[in-house]
Each structure stands twice: as structure tokens, then as C-alpha cells.
């Protein structure tokens, strides 16, 4: 497999002048192509069906909306309803990202450059196990185990750092707040950020690392001078992939957060924010008619947000692939 990087060297490249294909070949290639196209169709269908089902909610004006859907207030337009949800979604995801990224980079560096070679793969596997745990179990763990443990910490934050606006107390007990949700989300996105960063760190040209070490750099200086600059864009895209996951996470938030619909930065108080996905999960089973359409509209908004974040992340990755020809 020395030709992996060179697409022109594929022997299977169909030329223009070839004998007529066998029927088996034709059927097989067509069905393979059809499967590929089907994926594009599915993705388009996701967007299309969401738009179709959201449309009844979009075309109603605020008075009709309030009449049809009891949890939408008077004189509230659809965007007024979605706004705080988008805010809550982004806030929870950002909290998760701020907590998870430094730890994930540390773990990734630990696995790629610090841990004993023989143990490194096992360590990586252990961290990957975190990704295999179902989100509902995280919710259960966050709701029943983590919350009582977090309360003293939050209480301390509120009493000692309460002068900083976001930490304004009093801390709630149990802390069903967005900070708790953010911490649970951080645990959930840690493995993906770690996995991608680790891959990028390992791709650092060994010659660069050895050159740094030969010039007398300590291990940390070597990492700072060769690994981190090389991996910067990769780490950014890893963080964005994590962000995309945190934006769309449902159960862990639904099970931990006490919802509210405010543009509020009070992260130690319950009943302030809510994220889109958890809102859908909580409201959907009891909704009917236009209520469903409104929820699907919020789902569409979430879809667009995550799509943009993910495409940006993938774009950064693919751009990176072009100039990483150093090795």
C-alpha cells in the first residue's frame, strides 16, 4: 500500500476505451453508486422534511401561534421563542468546550508524548470507552451521582466569587443548572476532542521533534516549538467537532438541567436556560398539531447550526491535509 496518497495510481480507474462491461459489473457499479447517491439524498431529505414540517409554524403570525400552542406566550413570534433556546444551546456547548478542550489537549499529549509507549494504546482505548457510554447513562450519572458532589463546589463559587456576574448566587441545591449540564457535556465531548487531537499530534514530523531535542530543548519546549504549531489547526477542528456534538446533545441536558427561557448568564441558578435538543425531547411527547411543527422548526435551527459548525471543522481539517506534506 505505498500508493495510498496517490489517486492516479489506482488500477481500477475506468478508462474511456474499454470493452463493454459485463452485466454483473454494471449492476454492481450502479448499485454502489446508487448507495452513495442515496446518502446525499438522505441528507437533503433531512433538510427538506424538516422544512416541510416546520412550515405550518413559520407561516402563522404570533397571535395564531399563541392560540395554537399553549407554551408560547402572547405576542411572541417564532423567533422570540427560538432565540433563548439558541442562546442556551450555545452557552451550554461553550461551557463544555471551555472545560473539555484544555483537558483533552492534555490527555492527547499525555497519550502521544508522555505515556510509556507500551501503555499508550491501552490508555487511548480507555479514553475511547468514554465515547461508548450511552448519553442517557451520562444523564443518570450526572443527575444522581455528580450533582450532590458539585453542590459544595458551586456553593463555594457563589459565596467567594459571587461578585463576578456569572457566578452570582445563591447556588441551587440540587444544582440543576447549566454549569452542571456543561460539565456533563464536557465529559461527553472529551473523547472526540482527545481522539482527533491525538491523531494530529502523532502526525508531527519526527524530524522536527528530533531536531528540537538535539538543540537541547526540554520535552515541553520540544512540544511547544514543534508539536503545537504543527497541530494547531487540527486541534481547532477537533474542538469544533466537540462543539458540534455538544450543541446537539439531548438526554444529558434534559436529565440534568432545570429549564428556563431567558437570555441569562447566571450559570449557578436553575430555571434560566434550556437547550434546543432537550427542549424538543421534553415537549415532543406531549405536543400535538402546531406544537409539533414549532418543535420541528427549532430542530431545523439546530440542524443548521450544527451543520455550519461541522462543515467549518471539516473544511479546516481538509485544508490542513494539503499543507501537511511535511512528512
Amino acid at each position: 500500500m505505498t500508493t495510498t496518497g496517490d489517486p492516479a495510481a489506482k488500477p481500477a480507474r475506468p478508462g474511456k476505451q474499454r470493452a463493454p462491461q459485463r452485466p454483473g459489473d454494471l449492476i454492481f457499479s450502479i448499485s454502489a453508486k446508487a448507495a452513495g447517491v442515496l446518502i446525499l439524498v438522505i441528507l437533503a431529505a433531512v433538510a427538506l422534511f424538516l422544512i416541510v414540517q416546520a412550515w405550518p409554524a413559520i407561516q402563522l403570525d404570533s397571535a395564531e401561534l399563541a392560540e395554537e400552542v399553549h407554551w408560547i406566550g402572547e405576542a411572541q413570534s417564532l423567533l422570540d421563542y427560538v432565540g433563548p433556546l439558541v442562546f442556551g444551546t450555545i452557552l451550554a456547548a461553550l461551557i463544555a468546550l471551555i472545560i473539555a478542550t484544555p483537558i483533552a489537549i492534555g490527555v492527547a499529549l499525555f497519550i502521544s508524548h508522555y505515556a510509556p509507549r507500551r501503555l499508550a494504546t491501552s490508555f487511548a482505548y480507555v479514553i475511547d470507552l468514554l465515547a461508548a457510554i450511552p448519553s442517557v447513562v451520562y444523564g443518570l450519572w450526572g443527575g444522581l451521582w455528580l450533582m450532590p458532589k458539585l453542590y459544595p463546589v458551586f456553593d463555594w463559587l457563589a459565596t467567594n466569587l459571587g461578585f463576578i456576574p456569572i457566578f452570582e448566587g445563591p447556588a441551587a441545591d440540587p444544582p440543576r443548572t447549566i454549569l452542571t449540564a456543561g460539565i456533563v457535556l464536557a465529559v461527553m465531548i472529551l473523547p472526540i476532542i482527545t481522539a482527533v487531537s491525538r491523531e494530529v499530534f502523532l502526525q508531527t514530523p519526527t524530524l522536527h521533534e528530533e531536531a528540537a531535542l538535539a538543540l537541547g530543548a526540554t520535552r515541553w519546549e520540544m512540544i511547544r516549538m514543534t508539536v503545537l504549531p504543527f497541530a494547531r489547526s487540527g486541534v481547532i477542528s477537533a474542538a469544533m467537532l466537540g462543539l458540534g456534538r455538544a450543541l446537539g446533545e439531548t438526554m444529558a441536558v434534559a436529565m440534568v438541567l432545570s429549564p428556563g427561557l431567558l437570555y441569562s448568564f447566571l450559570i449557578l441558578r436553575p430555571g434560566q436556560q434550556q437547550n434546543i435538543a432537550a427542549n424538543i425531547a421534553l415537549k415532543f411527547p406531549e405536543s400535538s398539531g402546531v406544537g409539533i411543527n414549532v418543535l420541528i422548526f427549532t430542530g431545523l435551527v439546530l440542524f443548521v447550526i450544527t451543520l455550519v459548525v461541522n462543515m467549518l471543522a471539516r473544511w479546516i481539517v481538509s485544508r490542513r491535509a494539503e499543507f501537511s506534506g511535511a512528512n
Binding site: 454483473g24 468514554l130 461541522n310
Partner: protein, 365 residues
């Protein structure tokens, strides 16, 4: 000239310095670590507020400071920074292990209370309040059926797409598919659920709840994972095998089916297993599309079904029971979570075994 004086200057400037500097013995970090743990633990015990988390937290802090100061004095500032960075990396890993260990521990500890044959073979039919009864049989049935059907949808599509991407060369369509498969991995699970609901509403009217809707939602999440895994595996198949088959006059499709896929089979099976493990715990889409029910339903195409993740959520959200065993709902939630994790771990273990024993010998490792 000043040249003449230069050597004198160098010597003068070197007079106060050593060309070598001190080096701490190799065991220093370990010794400082143990020392600070013991010190902090002892202090806390004397103060009467001993607890393991606090000891470890303060111990690591003390360790970092002491090591920094000692290294700075003996080895100099750069080495001290290096030591600090090492401490940080190790603590990051330790920090990441805390949720994993505590999660496994709590699930095991709480789940084993109700995890028995009764729990696995009885449904929630006619169970209410704090009754000492009720199991997850219906949820296990639902999870297995829905996941199996999602696999049946996803694997052919994912497999064929990967074959197209790898075997039919890099075309512009292929590039687009690769990109959108990547994007598709990022679709929030709840959006997949909404999509499946919106799709089936067209045919069955509002309020549709069927197992198969959940399967469709899950396959939206599963297809990209299968594609990526299979693609990686197909790329590992050496070109020589394909060329040998062509040289013998084997048609391309037969080459793919009998040579390429056969060689990559173990890897593909592993990938599919991991994909199943990924989706079997999905809750949100099933909550929207399959609903909640208390008795067993074996029919994917008719009526609500229960699934394990939704069961966990349902039991959790019911909270404390008013009478009888008040924590019964939480206990059942933990037991179901344990069941779910066991299934996932089993899939993981099988996947690892398959990949270890049946992996293609590529000669590269």
C-alpha cells in the same frame, strides 16, 4: 585591539558559572508526589476533614509547587517548566479517568441491586407506585429489534457506498459523498429523530409511533459510521490482491465481492459492531419516534415499543415513588443502565476479538 581581550572576558564571565548544572535523581517526581500525598493526608486527618478527593486534589497541587521550586533551584527554570508541564499532562489524564471510573462504579454498584433474571424477563405491565416488581424485558426486546432493523438498513447502504468510494476511484461525486458523510456524522441524534418522524407522518398521519420509525432514525446516525469504518478497511486491502484477480480475468464485481470484501471482512464486522454500539444507546430519537409503553410489543410495524435507553430515562424522570420502595424507579433506571452498558461492552469486546483474530495480514504490521 579588543580581540585580545575577548578570551579574558569569557573566562571572567565563566568564572561564576558552571558548565554543568545539578540533576535531580530520576525518582524525584515520584518521591515528591508520594510525599505530598502523605503530608496533605496527614494534615487533613489531624484537622479532621480527611477525604480522598480533597487529599488527591491538594496533594497534586502541593506536588506541582514543590517539584517546581526544587527543580528550579537544582536544575534551573527551563527544566522546572518541563516538570510542570509533565505534571499537568499526567493530571489531565487522571482528571479524565475520574468520570469513567466513577460512572462505571456507580452503575455497577446501583445497578446490581435489581439486576437479576427477574429484571431481564419481566415487563412493566401492571406495575405502579413503589411496587417491588417490574423489569426491562420489553425494553430489551425493543432495543434489540429496532437496532437490528437499523443495522439491516444501514449496512448494505454503508457498505456499497464505501465500495463506491474506494473501488470506483476518486470521482467528484465521491469527494462530495466523503465530505457529506463526514458532515452527516455530526447530525444531532434528535434531528435524526425529527426527520424520521416527519418522513412517516407523510404516510401515516400525525402522532405516528412505530418501531420502524426509530430504526430509520437510527440508520441516519449509523450509515456514516459504517461508511467510514468500511472505507478505512477497504483501503487496507493491498492492491496486489486486486491486480492478481484482474490478471486471472475475474470480473471487477466478483473481485470486489470475493477478494476485497472477503479480505476486509473482519475489519468490516468490527466496524459494524462499533457502529451498533454507538447507536444502541441513542435515546432522544427513540423517545420521539417509538414512544413509551409498559408491555412487550414484538411488532416493529405496529404501535409503540419500549427501548432500554428510553426505559432508563422514563424511570429516572418518574422520580421517587410515593409509597412502597421509594427509590424503586431509580433502582430500575440503574439496572437498565447496567444492562445497556453490558450490551455495549459485549459488542466492544466482540469487535476487538474479531479484529484481533481475523484481521487481514497486510504485512505492514
Amino acid at each position: 585591539m579588543t580581540d585580545v581581550q575577548t578570551p579574558v572576558d569569557i573566562e571572567a564571565s565563566l568564572a561564576g558559572r558552571k558548565l554543568t548544572h545539578g540533576k535531580l535523581p530520576r525518582y524525584t517526581p515520584m518521591a515528591v508526589f508520594v510525599g505530598s500525598l502523605v503530608l496533605v493526608g496527614g494534615l487533613l486527618a489531624v484537622l479532621g476533614s480527611f477525604s480522598i478527593p480533597l487529599t488527591v486534589f491538594l496533594g497534586v497541587l502541593l506536588h506541582a509547587v514543590v517539584l517546581l521550586v526544587v527543580t528550579r533551584m537544582v536544575e534551573g527554570g527551563r527544566a522546572a517548566k518541563d516538570r510542570l508541564a509533565t505534571t499537568l499532562m499526567y493530571s489531565a489524564f487522571g482528571l479524565a479517568l475520574i468520570p469513567l471510573i466513577s460512572l462505571m462504579w456507580t452503575v455497577l454498584q446501583n445497578g446490581l441491586k435489581r439486576f437479576d433474571l427477574y429484571f431481564l424477563t419481566y415487563t412493566m405491565r401492571g406495575v405502579f407506585g413503589g411496587m417491588d416488581a417490574g423489569g426491562a424485558y420489553h425494553a430489551i426486546i425493543g432495543t434489540l429489534e429496532i437496532t437490528l432493523f437499523a443495522t439491516l438498513i444501514s449496512v448494505p447502504i454503508g457498505l456499497l457506498t464505501a465500495v463506491y468510494l474506494v473501488e470506483y476511484g476518486p470521482t467528484r461525486l465521491g469527494k462530495a459523498i466523503t465530505f457529506f458523510v463526514d458532515v452527516m456524522t455530526g447530525i444531532p441524534s434528535i434531528v435524526a429523530g425529527l426527520f424520521a418522524y416527519a418522513l412517516f407522518v407523510l404516510f401515516f398521519g400525525p402522532g405516528v409511533r412505530m418501531g420502524v420509525v426509530g430504526s430509520v432514525a437510527l440508520s441516519v446516525l449509523m450509515i456514516p459510521v459504517v461508511v467510514r469504518a468500511t472505507e478505512e478497511m477497504l483501503k487496507l486491502v493491498p492492491n496486489e490482491l486486486r491486480e492478481a484477480a484482474y490478471a486471472l480475468g475475474v470480473p471487477k464485481w466478483l473481485t470486489i465481492v470475493k477478494v476485497v470484501l472477503r479480505t476486509a471482512a473482519a475489519g468490516i464486522v468490527t466496524g459494524v459492531m462499533l457502529a451498533i454500539a454507538r447507536i444502541i444507546g441513542e435515546t432522544a430519537p427513540l423517545l420521539l419516534t417509538v414512544g413509551v409503553v409498559n408491555s412487550a410489543n414484538f411488532d416493529l410495524f405496529d404501535g409503540r415499543m419500549m427501548t432500554l435507553p428510553v426505559y432508563v430515562y422514563r424511570q429516572y424522570s418518574q422520580g421517587f415513588a410515593p409509597n412502597g420502595i421509594t427509590t424503586i424507579n431509580y433502582d430500575r433506571a440503574w439496572a437498565a443502565a447496567l444492562t445497556l452498558i453490558l450490551i455495549v461492552m459485549l459488542l466492544f469486546a466482540v469487535a476487538r476479538l474479531v479484529s484481533r483474530f481475523f484481521a487481514p495480514k497486510t504485512g505492514r504490521r
